[in-house]
């Protein structure tokens, strides 16, 4: 009896939490396709708002996609060799470096953005270019890329595999390309999806770093929440959901796969 009562309580809490998280999401999706939100869904279903968002904010969406892609490329170029280096060069230096680059996971984006602005804010050409926002995104996503790859590399006997390749005549760069990269693939994939997902949704740093001519998707969202009618804000949010939800699911799938391999 107690057991089933306890179960019931657990189920109630779970469902309430789900409702709390899901109902506003559904409302936002509905509002985005409703002709007039005050009159309710009976006023008709329309894509009018979505098209309007597209007219108003297409630039922001493309900028976000472009930034996510650039961020992926940079984190890959820096993160892959770095993860390999950290895996093969254990010791205090690597531990400190790993801890240090993980700082952006803990320190609020606002603080990091202020720091970047303090140092580079006066370099006009840099401050006003998209690469300034890119630096912020890379800063924030790089630890995910590095750790994701590192977890996979740490789980295999990389040193011996490389020694085997060396005894067969492979130079260090060849071993990296032929042995390390293919075997790190699950980690690279999980890391890449995480980087793209986080970059597209990044707001805290971006809000501080952006300029009026460079608004990313979430910056545009904040803008629409403040100044547009509810339907447009909702339609914009809907577009964001359509982009981010599949990415999030792919990321969760890839991460759990990488974790299975790592364990």
């Amino acid at each position: 009896m107690i057991k089933s009562k306890a179960k019931l309580l657990q189920l109630t809490v779970t469902l309430t939490a789900c409702a709390f998280l899901f109902i506003p999401t559904v409302m936002s999706v509905m509002a985005g396709v409703t002709a007039n939100y005050f009159k309710g869904i009976s006023s008709g279903v329309t894509l009018k708002w979505v098209f309007q968002v597209w007219e108003l904010y297409a630039d922001s969406i493309f900028l976000s996609l472009w930034l996510a892609l650039a961020c992926l490329v940079v984190t890959f170029i820096i993160g892959l060799p770095a993860a390999y280096g950290l895996a093969r060069h254990p010791g205090w230096f690597s531990r400190v470096l790993e801890e240090f680059i993980s700082l952006p996971l803990a320190v609020p984006g606002l603080a990091l953005a202020l720091a970047l602005l303090q140092l580079y804010g006066t370099m006009k050409g840099f401050r006003t270019s998209w690469t300034f926002i890119l630096v912020g995104h890379v800063l924030y996503t790089l630890p995910f890329m590095v750790r994701s790859i590192l977890a996979v590399l740490a789980a295999m006997d990389l040193k011996t595999l490389e020694e085997a390749a060396a005894s067969l005549g492979a130079s260090p760069p060849r071993r990296f390309l032929n042995i390390v990269v293919p075997n790190a693939m699950p980690g690279i994939l999980a890391g890449a999806l995480t980087v793209v997902t986080l970059s597209i949704g990044e707001f805290n740093l971006t809000w501080m770093l952006h300029t009026p001519y460079l608004k990313t998707l979430p910056v545009g969202l904040a803008d629409s929440y403040a100044s547009m009618r509810l339907e447009i804000a909702s339609a914009y949010t809907l577009i964001f959901f359509i982009m981010i939800v599949p990415l999030l699911m792919a990321m969760q799938w890839a991460s759990s796969r990488a974790q299975r391999i790592a364990n």
Binding site: S167, L168, G169
Partner: protein, 344 residues
């Protein structure tokens, strides 16, 4: 190829002296085994030969007349079989075997011909396209061997290639490996801590202890003529008969044993197969343990020397525990070694 090491030593950065300066020569086509207890430096020596570990300054390694001491591992043209096999999980069996050939930039048709040849030699034809993850332990071992041998290395180095297998498989593969290595007709060094394995596979065995080679020779030489207590104990588990020698007599706790020659300050050892339980024996002891091993019994006898003396008894019945038995040992079978030959 003849391998020649002079004055080769290794001190790790933490100060561990894993290898004291040693000399070693392995002749062309010879299969040499490095035998010794855990931690004696076998792997270290093998890795120095491979180029995976840098020896202390003053060490010299020659492949024939070629001084390879300063050569990187990838330039040394060695074949290595790792204890864990270290097969590349991202490549098929064929990919693994062909990797060394690819590194040599061999033309694809030549490489393919060589891969096929090696696959056939190691009886892996049917597995060529399998993924590494879909192989049994024994198959992995053969792939590791095939991969090492495919680029025609100057020397083949094997680090406990059988230790990852379970006991029943190990004996079968041991004999198979002995045949294969001879088929390759290559200079090879084979590390093991199992004396039976070393004897079954090697032409010559080097027994190592605490970073040095204490004795090397053919398996027969080592077994019949150990030069030290350590070798006598490690190869064929000889037992010490501790008592007092006087002339050609050795007085033990369990009686008096004849010796083949006048002895005073030396140590006397015997092997289990030379300890016979017989009514005419001159030594008396008490049965402590009896173990039935199928083809024979192993009997532990106390009261003769200070330790338990083991006897191999072929027969249908064994004495009971607690029985008093007479034991005879042929004086010619005794191993008489100088005292203090074993340095700690």
């Amino acid at each position: 190829m003849t391998l020649h090491l002079t004055n080769t030593a290794k001190t790790f950065s933490d100060g561990t002296r894993a290898l004291l300066p040693i000399e070693l020569t392995v002749k062309t086509g010879e299969i040499m085994s490095l035998l010794g207890p855990s931690g004696c430096g076998k792997t270290t020596l093998l890795r120095i030969i491979a180029g995976l570990e840098t020896p202390d300054t003053g060490s010299q390694i020659f492949f024939d007349d070629d001084d390879v001491t300063l050569q990187q591992v990838e330039d040394r043209k060695v074949g290595m079989v790792f204890q864990s096999y270290a097969l590349f999980p991202n490549m098929s069996v064929r990919g693994n075997i062909g990797y060394g050939l690819k590194m040599q930039k061999l033309a694809p048709d030549k490489a393919n011909a060589r891969i096929n040849e090696v696959l056939e030699m190691c009886q892996l034809e049917k597995l060529a396209l399998r993924s590494i993850k879909a192989l049994s332990g024994g198959q992995r071992q053969r792939v590791a061997l095939a991969r090492a041998i495919a680029p025609r290395p100057r020397i083949l180095l094997l680090d406990e290639p059988l230790s990852a297998l379970d006991a029943s498989l190990r004996e079968v593969l041991r004999d198979e490996l002995a045949v294969l290595l001879r088929k390759f007709n290559i200079t090879a060094i084979f590390v093991t801590h199992d004396q039976a394995e070393a004897m079954a596979i090697a032409d010559r065995v080097a027994v190592m202890d605490h970073g040095t080679i204490v004795q090397s020779g053919t398996p027969e030489e080592l077994y019949r003529n150990p030069q030290s207590m350590f070798v006598a104990k490690f190869v064929g588990s000889a037992m010490l008969l501790d008592g007092s020698c006087k002339g050609k007599k050795l007085t033990l706790a369990g009686g008096v044993q004849d010796l083949p020659k006048n002895t005073t300050d030396e140590l006397v050892f015997v092997r289990a197969e030379d300890v016979h339980i017989s009514k005419k024996g001159s030594l008396t002891g008490t049965v402590q343990t009896t173990t039935f091993l199928g083809t024979h019994y192993r009997i532990g006898i106390s009261g003769i020397a200070s330790g338990v003396l083991t006897s191999i008894l072929a027969g249908q019945t064994a004495p009971n525990i607690g029985d008093t038995v007479k034991v005879s040992i042929n004086p010619e079978a005794l191993l008489i070694l100088p005292n203090g030959a074993h340095k700690e």
